[in-house]
Amino acid sequence: MRYRYSPELEEFRHEVRCFIREKLPSSLARKTRRYEHLAKEDVQLWHSILAAHGWSASHWPKEYGGPGWSPVERYLFDEECALADAPPLSPFGLALVGPVIYTFGSDSQRQHYLPKIRNGQHWWCQGYSEPDAGSDLVALKTKAVLEGSEYIITGQKTWSTDAHLADYMICLARTRGEGKPQASLSLFIIDMQAEGVTVRPIETIDHGHSVNEVFLDGVRVPASALVGEENQGWTYAKFLLGNERTHNAQVQRSRRDWQLLCDMLKQLRCGAGCLIDEPSFGRAIAELDVLLIALEASVKRVLEDQVRGREPGTEASILKLEGSELQQAITNLAVRALEEVSGPLSFDLITEHIGLEGPCADYAAGVAERHLFRRSVSIYAGANEIQKNIIAKSVLGM
């Protein structure tokens, strides 16, 4: 089942769908389904296709080159992208840096950076987490010291996704040694080619490479690399994380994963029938749909609130919590299904051997990587425990 929207919105959805159908290279869709860590060129290809149509910065306001969509339109756009297996664009420039720059940045920053984020020329990474400050940004140690017209930045960042591919980092650093951390951090733009920047890859348990450590060894940036005001970085960072959390429900991608898993269960043979006829799997896939429908309903509620001008507060915590658990629950069932049919998992499942074909065969081929890497979704962007702390403190007043 799917939710119905107004005729205008369904018309909009149709337009998006036709565009994607026409423009998305099927090889890219295939790689996305397989959960390959896509090459930069692959993502850039899709980015430039969208950018040429004015759709790359889908949630930016019109004045900065966005399409000026309503929250519901953005949601439908993302849903169509997910359902078509379009590769996700690198989110750091588009979803995090862009909004920070057009909200808090200078005019020259806007003019310089926004167009190149929009067209995909510049890739960004984030430099928030540090080895001893994960969910706890207050403990940041990286320092930025003003020397003449330059800041000298020294420290170590970690969990920096795409840092090895990025042109710039948006970096949170300490500009005041004492005082409340909330009033002593600043946000900087660092050129990844600058002297003193070293990127060390972190291999993850799916044998993938997407996150990195970044060492900043006396990196010099001009004073103009400061975003907004000095010592206001904490406020900006919170603003960014807020954006990230809504995004992290990933409900449209989960809906697509659910569809592919469903097809997989319909193809995998088991006894006389197939796995989906085996009622413990039938019940399990229905149960996942229940959780998905509930999450979709919650996302819709937030969107409608946004349309009425209410920005999401703690609802974002709900979406992050449920969204990440759902992503994990979906791969859990996929793993259970593959275990049932072909025994222990490998990274090189030959899907023809178990009788799969079509899109869900691609999905099956990436299940091991997906399942393992997905352990991270309940950890990053404010671990689920942090979200529960937030709910307990700020909603329930405990």
């Binding site: 097809d263 019940r283 509930a294 425990e385 702390n389 709910i391 405990m398």
Partner: protein
């Protein structure tokens, strides 16, 4: 049809009325009374016009859709209202609309509005133990069947029963007063009165309602949606009651609410409660759409999957108090269990959903 603003006003007044007049102590008093519900309270509901909400305007009602009324059930569930609003208010409008005979229709509509006609829907889900057969009998029909634990069964004046008539689905409006209709009251664990219904009765031709299988399904969806809405209200109150309690209650010199495991558990309950409310909203918007049955199943299943567990956590952190009859939290739990089981349990709904998923084009 009533416009949304007028409805909102009415629902606000209902909410206020329940807050002032239907507190936990009132609920306890009514529950402990012999009847188990309050006829005085019922008359107040009637005089405030609640019962005519879904009756068509041409029959003297307010003509609201069932979907528009779900908010009312959130309030009623939260207040643990014992009076039989649940089946009647949601299905009466639809039933009245189908009655062809003008006089009958007028009597029925007036009865509903005035609180004297109370309907109960016998859901088809309980197939395993319901054996219902019907055969033509002259102009009328001979209906036979037994149905356990029918929600609102003990205080209903009319039963809406579905049966297989030859190859056709058929739906009957069976007055309790008919010869051969036996109502064995059963007190459900939440204090409301259901009934085991034994029917072996000859009915007149007009007892057959012009409702097809889809229409029958729709009536069940409506009652299930009402259960889900009540459940959302129950969950919200269970959460609030627990938070209040946990802030007051101390252990080892600290309020329980300061313990991290308690905080996280309550955050989880909050998530379930909010998701349930989102589902009610989605159901209310989708009730006229093509996927309404599937959507209602999902919401009903969510109640069983996540709702029970949420209130069990609330009880757990109440400690011993949680299992006493004098504290509200146990009552919320019992109400939730009844709502979860009425009109199909989570298991049944999941099975239906799985069937639909399997049968969708591969």
């Amino acid at each position: 049809m009533l416009d949304q603003d007028s409805l909102d006003l009415l629902f606000d007044s209902i909410k206020r009325f329940l807050q002032e007049r239907y507190g936990f102590a009132d609920y306890q008093r009514i529950s402990d009374s012999e009847l188990g519900w309050s006829q005085e309270m019922w008359q107040e509901f009637v005089s405030m016009g609640w019962l005519g909400l879904t009756v068509p305007e041409e029959d003297g009602g307010l003509g609201a859709t069932a979907a528009q009324c779900l908010d009312l059930f959130e309030h009623a569930g939260g207040a643990l209202v014992l009076e039989p609003l649940l089946p009647t208010l949601l299905i009466a409008g639809e039933v009245v609309r189908t009655v062809r005979h003008a006089t009958t229709r007028k009597m029925l509509a007036n009865g509903v509005i005035g609180g004297d006609v109370r309907m109960s829907l016998v859901p088809r889900q309980v197939e395993a133990v319901c054996t219902c057969s019907v055969i033509a009998n002259g102009d009328g029909f001979h209906l036979k069947g037994r149905f356990p634990a029918v929600l609102g069964g003990a205080n209903a004046t009319h039963f809406v029963v579905s049966a297989q008539l030859g190859d056709e689905f058929a739906m009957f409006l069976v007055p309790k007063a008919n010869t051969g209709v036996e109502v064995e009251p059963v007190r459900l664990i939440d204090g409301r009165w259901g009934a085991t219904l034994n029917i072996d009765s000859i009915m007149e031709a007009e007892a057959l309602l012009p409702i097809d299988a889809r229409g029958g399904q729709r009536l069940e969806d409506l009652v299930a949606a009402g259960c889900v809405a009540e459940a959302a209200g129950v969950l919200k109150r269970a959460l609030n009651t627990s938070i209040e309690y946990l802030k007051l209650r101390k252990q080892f010199g600290q309020p329980l609410s300061s313990l991290q495991v308690v905080q996280h558990a309550m955050a989880e309950v909050y998530v379930v409660s909010e998701q349930m409310r989102s589902l009610v909203k989605a159901v209310s918007e989708g009730l006229e759409g093509p996927d309404s049955t599937y959507l209602v199943s999902a919401a009903k299943a969510y109640l069983g999957i996540a709702g029970y567990r949420a209130v069990e956590k609330c009880i757990q952190f109440h400690g011993g108090m949680g299992i006493t009859e004098e504290y509200p939290i146990g009552h919320y739990y019992k109400r939730l269990l009844v709502l979860g089981a009425a009109c199909g349990s989570a298991s049944g709904h999941l099975q239906r959903m799985a069937f639909r998923i399997r049968s969708e084009t591969r």
